[in-house]
Amino acid sequence: MSPLGMTMDQVIVNLVIPAVKIAVVLGVISGAVAYLTLMERKILGFMQLRLAPRRVGPSGLLQPIADGIKLLLKEDVMPQGADRALFLLAPVLAIIPAFASLAVLPFASAPFEVFGYTITPFITDVNIGVLYILSISSLGIYGIILGGWASNSKYSLLGSLRSAAQMISYEVPLGLAIIGVLMLAGTASMVGIVEAQRDAGMWFFVPQIVGLFCFFVSAVAETNRLPFDLPEAEAELVAGYQTEYAGMKFAFFMLAEYTSMIIVASVATTLWLGGWMRPFPGVEQLAFLDWLNFIHPALSGVFWFTMKVLFVLYVYIWLRGTFPRYRYDQLMRIGWKWLLPLSLLNVLATGIWLVLR
């Protein structure tokens, strides 16, 4: 008997395996975030006719590590008159929800066996997975508001106020855009939604293209990326809520932002783009696309999931390379006057279709 009154077996199943899974996912995603910055710089460099970083390591592959070391070694600056406790707390508050959302992302479905224990290739699957992500990621705004407030800087304050207004406005169409998918799938479990797409024989972006559009636009606004990057619009507000932050505290905000990007891309992949499934899962002739199956089906799932996430992230970066930035009032107008009615109409149309079917 172990101290908690569980058998050794229960300890492993309930504590060790989840802990290892969490460690693996956090580690992989943190690394992925670092390399997402490199990917962004490389793609932008390609679009903008310039050379992206290429000095550190072969073709710049060690650049994220150099950046990380640089940020770690930076002096920790505390602005005069800042609220010390909140100033320290804000980056942490920004990053916790971002990482917590990773818990329900289904990277693949096929379980594998290690030492007789069955392990699923995702941290957990709860029946309210989508709602969990929505609610947890909404908390990220606290980090930004408190960071802007605690900095005792007008630029930071303006940036965080913009951010608050923006993220709260776009939460509404974001949630409504997802409802269409939930109605078709009949479940809010992330794994269940992918399985529903398999059973339906098509990815949900076909019937729910309007929902995907609304979701993606709102999500770009939620994650403060161009053309909706007003909270940190460097031309106007220097760096918005991050202005006074340096070193690792700044890195935490960046980490939170890029992790949110990955989460948005993962949610779009899961809900609309068929999750871990290869293209046309019903067509036998394309089975060779699952070539990683010869090792394990879970690997194949992770491969296709990653591919789709990378595609969505590419679109993100592509937008940044193409668009100017919206103005504050225009942003609000789009959110409330276009996206909200559009996503409501989408819910209505989906409902009518479900009734008439």
Binding site: L158, T322, P324
Partner: protein, 366 residues
């Protein structure tokens, strides 16, 4: 009860989008701009006073450093003023070369404007596209005179040297290529909804206001006044060139964008004609001393720079050095209108308006 108060914000002198060391004192009501007060002088180097202690040929390098983005125009204006003062005739070939270089300079200056303006509004890629073409122009400057930014291209009485071999061919290649590149910028901006929403109706200035503020250049033309020194008082070889003066009736940021893009095309047109019609012959007036003296008198000469009318006022007491120098800086005059243009707008409009005024602080502060 609740109490509201205005927010005072200092934008600059170190700020990403003040294009140098401009400082704006903003009074904000939330995001709405109540008042803007530009504070200048951070780049004041006393060039006018300095010029009184230098002989005439030593001043052009100082002029280059006024408006360093359009150093060729500054140079040309000063040198033509000295030539008028001293009554020097410039050979025809030199006039043509001056026209070509001044127009290339206008293109490169407008490219800096377009790139930074778009960057301020958030369109990052346009900036790099513009600098790709600017690089070609700077390379041409370098092969002509050895410098890229502060060029000191012209000499009193003409040019130091003739165009190097192959220069005309390089220039022709550039103007053949350039119209397609303008289409690329337009492809990224002109039909972009966000760009239109950010620029249309922003920073409006009426023709009357523009005239009473003394605003000149593309800003005046975008308010519907077809005033261009190259047409009204032609200098260099502009009287032989055929070109249009683009105007727009709207007077907003978008109108200025349209006018400047059209000016890029017209500049290309002028350069093409100048290259085709360039005569052979001397490039410098004969018999000029280094320590030249100008007869007693005064002269005021204006040229159409990329930002507007650049004026050069020289007073001579008959000596080797000018008795008094004054430079009319278009950036300084145009910047004065920023208050009227931005009141009632949003913070984001301020950066668009700074971009559209196209200031160079070296020019503004002198």
């Amino acid at each position: 009860m609740f109490r509201t108060e205005m927010m005072e914000i200092n934008m600059g002198p170190q700020h990403p989008s003040t294009h140098g060391v401009l400082r704006l004192e903003l009074t904000l009501d939330g995001e709405t701009v109540v008042d803007v007060r530009p504070v200048i002088g951070y780049l004041h180097r006393g060039v006018e006073k300095l010029s009184e202690h230098k002989i005439y040929v030593m001043i052009p390098p100082l002029c280059d450093r006024l408006d360093y983005v359009a150093s060729g125009s500054q140079n040309l204006g000063y040198i033509q003023a000295v030539e008028m003062l001293a009554g020097i005739e410039v050979p025809e070939r030199a006039r043509y070369v001056r026209t070509i270089l001044a127009e290339l300079n206008r293109i490169s200056s407008h490219l800096v404007w377009l790139g930074t303006h778009a960057l301020d509004i958030g369109a990052m890629t346009v900036f790099f596209y513009c600098f790709r073409e600017r690089e070609m122009i700077l390379d041409m400057f370098e092969s002509f005179c050895g410098a890229r930014l502060t060029t000191n291209m012209f000499r009193i009485g003409g040019l130091l040297d003739d165009l190097p071999p192959g220069w005309i061919a390089a220039c022709r290649h550039f103007i053949d290529l350039f119209p397609s590149r303008i289409k690329e910028y337009e492809g990224l901006l002109s039909t972009n909804r966000i760009w239109l929403e950010r620029t249309k109706g922003v920073g409006y200035i009426s023709a009357e206001d523009a005239i009473s503020w003394g605003v000149t250049g593309p800003m005046l033309r975008a308010s519907g006044v077809a005033y261009d020194i190259r047409k009204t008082e032609p200098y260099a070889a502009y009287d032989r060139m055929e070109f249009d003066v683009p105007t727009h009736k709207d007077g907003d940021t978008y109108a200025r964008y349209v006018v400047r893009l059209e000016e890029l095309r017209q500049s290309t047109r002028i350069i093409r004609q100048a290259i085709d019609g360039i005569p052979a012959g001397e490039i410098r007036a004969p018999k000029l001393k280094t320590r030249m003296k100008a007869p007693v008198g005064e002269v005021y000469h204006e040229i159409e720079g990329p930002r507007g009318v650049q004026g050069f006022y020289l007073v001579s007491d008959g000596g080797e050095k000018p008795y008094r120098c004054h430079f009319r800086a278009p950036s300084f005059v145009n910047l004065a209108a920023i208050g009227d243009m931005s009141r009632g707008g949003l913070v984001a409009d301020i950066v668009a308006i700074i971009g559209t005024i196209d200031i160079v602080l070296g020019d503004c502060d002198r």
